[in-house]
């Protein structure tokens, strides 16, 4: 028993965050930095100081994001590759979209978004097939379809960003400025959050449920595009010409996406619980993930959504202070953001301090989705106020 402490410690891993970084991690960070630097060198004349800061911040965030979740790397590379290819094909004229095969059928923003829509719907079906047939293969196909949809969606957004500048230097803007564009963002973010949990919890059984809400969003998107011509790029109204939009809107949609996911997982929870009661060895009960896991995902998603929604609402208040002269005006959109926020604050209290679990929280998460939906759709449709853009 005369072992030295040195020997006792030997072989025990002691990985600090920095020591855990592999060569690939650093290469990734380098690549992202080079990409950010290149974007800056090309476009800094169009950017103000805040936008430069946002670019730097996003570059850093992407580097770290890629460290924490490896799958982000191929995703980013695919989106960057396809977007650059499409932008190259466009050159300096939007008319290229009529002549180039790739643009016309694949990569012009409109085509890419149609592909995204189709892929999401196919993925939804595939997830349910995988669930019903207990097919690992179908599950892999479903995941691949979802990833592809995300790639096409982000590519579509990037290309749309470029297209807006091709329409006219003064028209160009980041595509998060109207209901059509943010609905795409919603689909993409919800899918990404889902894919994260899919990897983290190693189950594809929630996929169909979550993708249902994405498919519903896709249906709305298509209806909106075909009946209201909403897919045309519109110039920005003066109220939206601000760097705040670049951070406020995406932060909001991480919140909305996470809340939507939580609600759908809540649905899965209820289905599973009911199946356990009615037929414990039945078709459903043996296929859906255990209720505790669903409960955990639901909590995680709401915590994530709450954190981002808090930040987004604060950013909104800061923006309002700049655009409307007051950080809070009780404008309907603001007020509904507060309602959503209070709702989830109450939800979190019930879970964390009262120890609530299961059915009431699942139902509450589902009701929460409707509250959220009203905040981001209903307000624009039914109430008027300072946020009166993106009307139906």
């Amino acid at each position: 028993m005369s072992v030295t402490q040195q020997e006792l410690l030997q072989g025990l891993e002691n990985p600090s965050f920095w020591k855990q970084r592999s060569l690939a991690d650093w290469l990734w960070a380098l690549l992202v930095t080079v990409g950010g630097g290149y974007a800056w060198s090309r476009y800094h004349t169009l950017m103000d100081d805040y936008e430069t800061a946002i670019l730097a911040g996003s570059t850093l965030a992407l580097a770290v994001f890629g460290w924490l979740w490896r799958a982000v790397r191929p995703l980013t590379l695919a989106v960057a590759g396809l977007s650059l290819f499409a932008i190259g094909l466009y050159g300096t004229s939007l008319r290229a979209a009529d002549d180039s095969f790739f643009l016309k059928f694949l990569l012009s923003s409109q085509s890419a978004i149609m592909w995204m829509s189709a892929l999401f719907v196919m993925a939804t079906v595939a997830y349910f097939i995988a669930l019903a047939a207990r097919s690992d293969y179908a599950g892999k196909v479903a995941s691949a379809l979802t990833w592809s949809a995300v790639v096409m969606g982000f590519t579509g957004m990037m290309v749309r960003w470029r297209e807006s500048y091709l329409m006219g230097a003064d028209i160009g803007h980041i595509p998060v400025s109207n209901l059509y564009e943010v609905f795409i963002l919603f689909c993409l973010i919800t899918a990404l959050i889902y894919l994260f949990y899919e990897g983290r919890y190693r189950t594809r059984a929630m996929g169909g449920f979550v993708l249902l809400v994405i498919s519903a969003a896709v249906a709305f998107l298509l209806w909106y595009a075909f009946t209201r011509d909403a897919h045309h790029i519109q110039p920005l109204v003066p109220a939206l010409q601000s760097y705040w939009m670049k951070i406020h809107v995406p932060a909001n949609f991480v919140g909305y996406g996470a809340f939507a996911l939580a609600a759908m997982v809540g649905v899965a929870w209820l289905v599973r619980k009911r199946a356990d009661r009615v037929a414990p060895q039945g078709f459903v009960a043996t296929r859906l993930p255990p209720a505790e896991m669903l409960d955990d995902v639901m909590y995680k998603a709401i915590a994530l959504g709450f954190a981002f929604f808090t930040v987004a609402t604060i950013l909104g208040a800061l923006w309002a202070a700049e655009a409307w002269g007051g950080y809070w005006s009780w404008d309907p959109k603001e007020t509904w953001a507060l309602i959503v926020w209070l709702n989830y604050a109450a939800w979190l209290h019930m879970r964390l301090t009262r120890g609530w679990r299961g059915a009431p929280l699942a139902w509450w998460a589902i009701i929460g989705l409707f509250v959220t939906l009203f905040a981001f759709l209903g307000v624009n449709m039914f109430l008027s106020g300072l946020h009166s853009y993106g009307e139906l």
Binding site: D229, P235, P238, M293
Partner: protein, 670 residues
């Protein structure tokens, strides 16, 4: 750990009931939900509209009820502020009661745990290792510190206890988030309307409800220069300046003086190629007695000017008194000479009309009117309808019609019309009159035709001519019958020019028994059509149109359109048609000027909130214990741990940690 209720139970007994109640979670949740519901009410019922509109919408009874409940200004209502105050109070009590526990908990290592309690943990494992307990304890501590844990060890008789904690700041998250709520609410209180409400309640302040020049507003509706926080607005016409702003307060306003004056040199709207506005900008000059020379700056939406703590924002724009030149076409006479008038937006003037003396109030002028139009393929397109102006025509009794009239003809399906909308209350949409445009591009032909309807002599003559055929061959006494018929034909025309086809239908409805109404109405319409058609033919003849080949198609269309327009003129309600001939455009910039000293406090609260939420959700709090004792020739190690609120993640971490130890030591139990 366990729920906070259990944790703080020893303290609870000593807390007064009132605090117990205030700090209770149930109250907190109730308040959160109450605020949410009140907020819903405030968005569903549009806030701070003119009280007149509410009265019309709800009727006198409910108007009173809602007014008493403060529903027209929910967020300024005393009950709403009281709920907010309770929330602040409740949160404060909650912080005050929980924070000491949490701080203690943060510093705690719980070195006095017992062997058996550790064995009762969900996450635990036992090993056997061939080393001295002390050496093991030191090695483990070194390793865990490298992993980011803080450790404490204690030797107690024959055993060592090593406790390790990571993410203890997670506990501060609670404090930061809840303190943030209090800080934000307190900061916002500075900037809210509460100080004003208190002064109002004590009778020192009374909002002005009359629409009078600022200079005439009495002192009781004026605020002192020293008022620390306000948010008001003012519209300043180009070339003018202002040193006050108006604060909207329910159905009235207050006047807030500024220590400087703001001049608007120029207001500009820039447009995209598509016609939508691209920017709203004002060139401002501040004249401050404290400055040697005026300072200038251009502001735009999203680009305010912060001057000495006063933030000046581009909020809106409106007309600044555009000069208007109008033609007033008489609509109640055979006379077709229009009257030339001049006026100014936001000014009013008396006007003599066949319906008695009236007041003409010009309310607005708009240079561009981008409206959605559905094109031939059914697509919606944005189209600029050009300038229009709005005005009210008020009779001696105070009743007014509001009009919105375009200056230039607008094309619909290949035909051009002069558009003029009318409504009797702001709550209604405009109903549009379409006056057909003649070949010369004006409304003269329609006006001439319409004037003919008022030429009774001519109408009688046409009626007589029309009846001659049927009465001509008959005897003398029947001529009396003819005169009656002719008179009633004139009556029909009079009905029509007073109220269109509807007036005739109403008359028939009153005078003719049910079963015969359609028949009579049809006959009347035919007669009317004939007379009006004859009048129109006379008009065409007078214009020198050649009718030998019959009527040209466009003339026939024009007749139909004229009938529609003439029929609508009855409901139009104005004795004149005011046609805009020329204008001298002056705009006004709507500025919002605010002072919000509480803003920095609120922003501090925002920062606390972000930090707090991050700490709570993303700094996982983990605790590990190792109980190490000598058993015979070797050492026995019991490891256990818990991950506060992150049990699932903790399970994975615990597994990876144990896996490493499993590889070195003999695992006794899992």
């Amino acid at each position: 750990m366990k729920s906070s209720a259990q944790r703080s139970s020893p303290r609870r007994r000593s807390t007064p009931v009132a605090l117990e109640f205030l700090g209770s979670m149930n109250l907190a949740i109730t308040l959160l939900v109450a605020i949410a519901i009140a907020s819903v009410v405030g968005t569903v019922l549009q806030q701070n509209q003119p009280y007149q509109d509410y009265l019309i919408k709800f009727g006198p009874f409910w108007f009173e009820v809602f007014d008493t409940l403060g529903l027209y200004d929910v967020y300024g209502a005393s009950w709403f502020l009281a709920i907010l105050a309770f929330l602040v109070l409740s949160t404060s009590v909650c912080i005050w009661r929980n924070t000491p526990n949490m701080l203690r908990e943060m510093r705690q290592f719980h070195l006095n745990v017992r062997y058996n309690s550790l064995r009762a943990f969900h996450h635990k494992r036992e090993w056997e290792a061939g080393a001295e307990p002390q050496a093991l304890q030191q090695a483990l501590a070194g390793w865990l510190q490298g992993l980011g844990y803080r450790t404490r060890a204690r030797q107690d008789g024959g055993h060592y206890i090593l406790a390790a904690v990571r993410g203890r700041y997670s506990k501060l998250g609670y404090f930061f988030t809840h303190a943030a709520i209090v800080v934000i609410c307190v900061g916002a209180l500075f900037d809210s309307g509460l100080p004003l409400m208190l002064r109002e309640a004590s009778g020192q302040l009374k909002p002005e409800t009359r629409d009078i020049p600022a200079s005439e507003v009495p002192a009781i509706s004026r605020l002192p220069l020293s008022n620390p926080s306000f948010r008001g607005s003012v519209r300043i016409p180009e070339g003018s300046s202002a040193n006050i702003v108006f604060l909207q307060l329910r159905d009235g306003y207050l006047v807030q003086p500024l220590p400087f004056s703001v001049e608007v040199k120029d207001f500009r709207i820039e447009h995209y190629a598509t016609g939508q506005p691209r920017s709203f900008e004002s060139d401002l000059v501040i004249h401050d007695p404290g400055l040697d020379a005026p300072v200038t700056r251009t502001i735009a939406v999203n680009h305010p000017w912060i001057y000495k703590g006063y933030a000046i924002y581009q909020a809106s724009f409106s007309d600044g008194g555009t000069g208007l030149t109008l033609d007033a076409w008489p609509l109640r006479a055979a006379d077709i000479q229009p009257l030339r008038l001049t006026g100014k937006v936001r000014a009013s003037q008396p006007i003599d009309t066949p319906d008695g003396p009236m007041t003409l109030e010009f309310t607005d002028f708009r240079m561009f009117n981008i409206n959605p139009v559905v094109d031939e393929e059914g697509r919606e397109q944005q189209k600029n309808f050009g300038p229009n102006f709005t005005f009210r025509l008020r009779d001696a009794a105070g009743q007014a019609h509001e009009y919105e009239t375009y200056m230039l003809p607008v094309e619909f399906e290949g035909r051009r019309f002069m558009l003029s909308g009318v409504r009797t209350s702001q709550a209604e949409p405009f109903r549009y009159l379409h006056i057909p445009i003649d070949e010369a591009g004006g409304i003269e032909r329609f006006m001439r035709f319409h004037a003919m309807l008022f030429d009774d002599r001519r109408v009688l003559e046409i009626a007589r001519r029309a009846t001659d055929q049927s009465f001509g061959q008959l005897d003398e006494p029947v001529a009396v019958g003819q005169a009656q018929v002719v008179q009633s034909m004139l009556g029909l025309v009079k009905q029509f020019r007073g109220g269109g086809f509807d007036a005739i239908a109403d008359m028939v409805g009153q005078r003719v028994p049910e079963g015969r109404r359609d028949e009579v109405l049809n006959a009347y319409f035919k007669v009317l059509q004939t007379i009006l058609g004859e009048l129109y033919v006379e008009l065409l003849r007078a214009e020198g149109v050649d009718l030998s080949q019959g009527m040209r198609e466009q003339d026939a269309r024009f007749f139909d359109e004229s009938l529609t327009a003439a029929a609508a003129l009855g409901a139009y309600g104005s004795p004149f048609f005011f046609q805009l001939r020329d204008f001298d455009f002056v705009q006004a910039s709507g500025l919002q000027i605010a002072r919000a000293p509480g803003k920095n406090v609120v922003y501090l609260g925002f920062a606390l909130l972000c930090i707090g939420v991050f700490l709570m959700f993303y700094v996982p709090n983990r605790k590990l214990w190792f109980w190490i004792e000598r058993r015979g020739e070797s050492s026995h190690i019991l490891g256990a741990g818990t991950g506060h609120r992150h049990q699932r993640d903790f399970e994975r971490e615990f597994e990876t940690l144990c896996a490493q130890l499993d590889a070195r030591w003999k695992t006794v139990t899992r």
